[in-house]
Point group: C2
Chain length 140, copies 2
């Protein structure tokens, strides 16, 4: 595979309302979208910087993945998402290369992207997301 | 401040030799530089993806910052670096906004960049680096 760019960096925070002022007032970025992803038990806030989004993640349930991450490690960088073409095929390639998959097939994530996670145990500790924006391709 | 882009993402690994094949053979990136930064007690490996570099960090000393990070948290994403213009002024702005600085003044990091770190205690758990490529500006 060859990703086209880093689509976003996911950052786990206790409260997006508390963290947004740092990103807006200190770093000078603009929060352009706040969205709840019920399936992932998170509320997300997005900032665009060049090719890459910063995605703040606030847990809506202590039993959700971000709630558990924060309980174990505190606030911090949660995952990196690489933009790819042909996500399903890229997943199969990763699997054939011996990478353990969290998602066997793509599912829908924030902003309507097709997404799938690779397990950090086979990616040297980095929770790695692959994602594809099929919607924007149809619109092109 | 308004960063121009995400300059790099720093990832702490036990061994860059072990991790490089994942980035090259699975993600399809190319390692274009390996460099030791003695002051930071790390050996680094760089990959370029769009505007942003992936910087793998292997500790050369258990007492160095990456060695301590890995001892405490294991391998994983270590920091995000934002490219800015006028680093010294940006640092003063951050300080005036109440951000705790790790580096009071810019110093030289990998690839000859001027760099300074903000303390994760005042950036919602994210070790945040600001950096400026003065060298490439002089060459322009």
């Amino acid at each position: 595979m060859k990703p086209t760019h880093i689509e976003h960096i996911g950052i786990a925070v206790n409260s997006i309302a508390d963290a947004i002022p740092f990103y807006e007032n200190v770093l000078g970025l603009k929060c352009y979208n706040i969205e709840e992803v019920a399936e992932q038990k998170v509320k997300t806030a997005f900032f665009m910087l060049g090719q890459t989004k910063i995605e703040l993640l606030e847990s809506t349930d202590p039993e959700g993945p971000v709630g558990k991450f924060i309980e174990k490690r505190g606030e911090g960088i949660h995952h990196i998402a690489f933009a790819v073409d042909g996500l399903e095929e890229r997943l199969r390639e990763a699997e054939e290369a011996g990478v353990r998959l969290i998602d066997q097939a793509p599912r829908t994530g924030a902003e309507g992207l097709s997404i799938a996670f690779l397990h950090p145990k086979s990616t040297f500790g980095v929770l790695t997301e692959l994602c594809e924006d099929k919607k924007s391709k149809i619109n092109k």
